[in-house]
């Protein structure tokens, strides 16, 4: 399992970027050859593709037993996809723009208002209420 890393933040082109750099990260040679990052990128794409393929397959399965086999395989692919991504992020091969706080709170407010349309009473604790099970 890849451990969670503590991301760093910088401003770049008007966007707040979230990334991580390895203190021991080797300088990558960027020539025509396929490098470590290319290989990881290809494996990431492979896991994503397999995961999607299994989704189609298991929805089409004629019996539960086969669908279960494909579901187990899909689980594996999804886990591997996360692990490849986490490793790539850790190596500093991913820089992700952070959504600005205003957009987040605006969207929150919008969907919070939509709550009244839901048929069942809410199970969500109001903001700021501490709960024992939370971490």
């Amino acid at each position: 399992m890849t451990q969670q890393v503590q991301p760093q933040f910088t401003f770049e082109g008007g966007h707040l970027m979230m990334y991580h750099t390895e203190p021991t990260g080797l300088p990558q040679v960027k020539d025509g050859n396929v490098n470590d990052r290319d290989r990881m990128q290809d494996l990431l794409a492979t896991e994503k593709y397999l995961s999607t393929a299994y989704n189609t397959a298991l929805l089409e399965a004629s019996h539960d037993c086969l669908s279960h086999v494909w579901q187990q395989n899909q689980d594996t692919c999804q886990k591997l996809q996360r692990q490849v991504f986490d490793t790539m992020f850790k190596k500093g091969w991913y820089k992700l723009p952070v959504a600005d706080a205003q957009s987040v709170s605006h969207a929150y407010g919008q969907f919070d208002q939509y709550k009244v349309q839901l048929p069942f009473p809410s199970n969500i604790r109001p903001l700021g209420t501490s709960a024992a099970g939370m971490h």
Binding site: R39, L43, E60, A61, S62, H68, V69, T76, C77, T87
Partner: protein, 88 residues
Amino acid sequence: MANNQQMTPLTEKDLAYIKDTMSWELVACKKAFQYAHQTLEPECRSLMFRIAEEHQRNFERILQHMGEHVSQSVQASISGAQPTATHV
């Protein structure tokens, strides 16, 4: 999940997807294994070996399921060449 009640036969569609998914797992396994050998960075390398192994397990899981269908008489008696008693 219920354990092998009366096993229903594989449909043509099932078989088509089985062949597809097994081919993809085989390629994914071989590719990750080869990449692992080409990669020097230890963390990526060990992850790639693990990926290769997991895809082998996935391949084997499908193959095993297919094997259960092969060993069951249902597939053959329903769709096989030999005529069944009800045919006569």
